[in-house]
Symmetry: C2
Subunit: 261 residues, 2 copies
């Protein structure tokens, strides 16, 4: 059994379909994506840390999906946002993390004039969430990094100021969770053989809607998020989505087969 994936072309068409026949706005989709991003590791661990008895927490700990980064491992989360939709997902995730008692810091060097992204950044500023220009220094003081720099439409060269950032992500020992695509990876062929992303293998990957072909080259912890895709869209695009549990917005899958763990 091999991992079933969605090409960049199909992923673009699917997003368009969600916003035409599906009736979704970009605001809604980004909110749902950012919400999903906060679930791997942050969700049940927070819950068990704070509200359940030790016996219950021990039981929940058998559910590996929730052990990626409990707050007891540190609340500082550095979120690196690129100029497009991937960065927007990161901004939404940062807001949820703030409300879940984490302390997010945003690195967002290429702020778009896009109205939605500007509003997402405003939402964070009203919460007092800090924005930093100094990525290397922020990396020294964080417990986890969210890589929301480039998504499935990335191709070609990594532009300034991101080469140094991606090189730092490849070298750091701080765990990194990538949003949909490890930044600088080719959506079809995966990890680059040279350039700043050479050797960049994030700790975890959250595929949005469905895994992209690059996921075949990813051996870390793999989650699928986006619990809003209608059955008719799954059918049209040949998606085989894993079954979500309870009110989870995310499910951990086997990196090789894409089957639910």
């Amino acid at each position: 059994m091999t991992l079933k994936t969605l090409s960049a072309k199909s992923a673009t068409a699917l997003d368009k379909e969600l916003m035409s026949s599906g009736g979704f706005s970009i605001d809604q989709l980004m909110e749902l994506a950012g919400c999903a991003l906060c679930f791997p590791g942050w969700y049940m661990t927070l819950f068990t840390d704070m509200t359940l008895s030790p016996a219950t927490a021990a039981d929940a700990s058998t559910n590996q999906v929730y052990k990626l980064h409990p707050p007891s491992q540190g609340r500082e989360i550095l979120i690196a946002c690129g100029p497009g939709n991937n960065g927007g997902d990161g901004l939404v995730a940062a807001r949820h993390l703030y409300h879940y008692s984490y302390r997010p810091t945003i690195y967002y060097p290429k702020q778009s004039s896009n109205e939605l992204y500007q509003r997402l950044a405003t939402q964070l500023r009203t919460l007092g969430v800090p924005f930093t220009d100094d990525f290397p220094n922020a990396l020294k003081h964080t417990h986890h990094v969210v890589d929301a720099i480039f998504g499935f439409s990335f191709s070609g060269e990594v532009r300034e100021p991101f080469p140094a950032v991606i090189r730092a992500l490849a070298e750091t020992r701080v765990p990194v969770t990538s949003v949909d695509v490890p930044s600088s990876w080719d959506v079809e062929t995966g990890p680059p053989a040279e350039g700043p992303g050479k050797g960049f293998f994030p700790h975890a990957l959250v595929s949005l809607t469905a895994p992209k072909p690059l996921a075949r080259f990813f051996a870390g912890r793999h989650f699928v998020g986006g619990r809003f895709v209608a059955p008719y869209i799954c059918e049209k695009y040949g998606l085989e989505l894993p079954e979500y549990e309870g009110v989870d917005q995310i499910v951990e899958v086997d990196a090789k087969t894409g089957q639910k763990l």
Copy 2:
């Protein structure tokens, strides 16, 4: 200690503030509200029913907030939607409930030409969620009703076709959860002394952002939802919001004092 509430005038101003200085769009706010609505009772019970061991479920059962309506009590949920924002919140909630394995049915007799509400209805149609015109019949076949007819801006007369609907809600033995305001209640003075809403006391109330003055007249199970209000807004409007736990979008409060249970 008495319940601290937000007047209709302040609630309107607060919503406007969220969309100006706060940077939120109506799409986002409605998504967050609808998400919060699905949490009381549906959230952890679903989770315990489906994924935890019996011992863990027993432990979680001590957490009363999650016992409002577990799926084991029946998956049919009838959602009565009014023509405005309250109805929009109900449409979003219905979509989440569908994805959480409930079977929602929508009663939405006054469908607005508003573009957002139309898209929310489209999202449900693409999922195959049924819309009904026959409220009395649907009420006979449901396990729970969500009352998303009128919100805090309601005043005056209940217009057609809602008088019979609200009368049915007052008479039914099926549990009803009201969104923000029990429909037909006055936002300041609470339950009407006459008219179709006379004697209408829903089983549960989910106050969005903060309880409205009418909540002082409500003796059922009371939840507060909307985990996205920035501290500067709480301060400006004198809100004392209860502390949310884990990644909950909702918290149960004492009906009299507004304090977290």
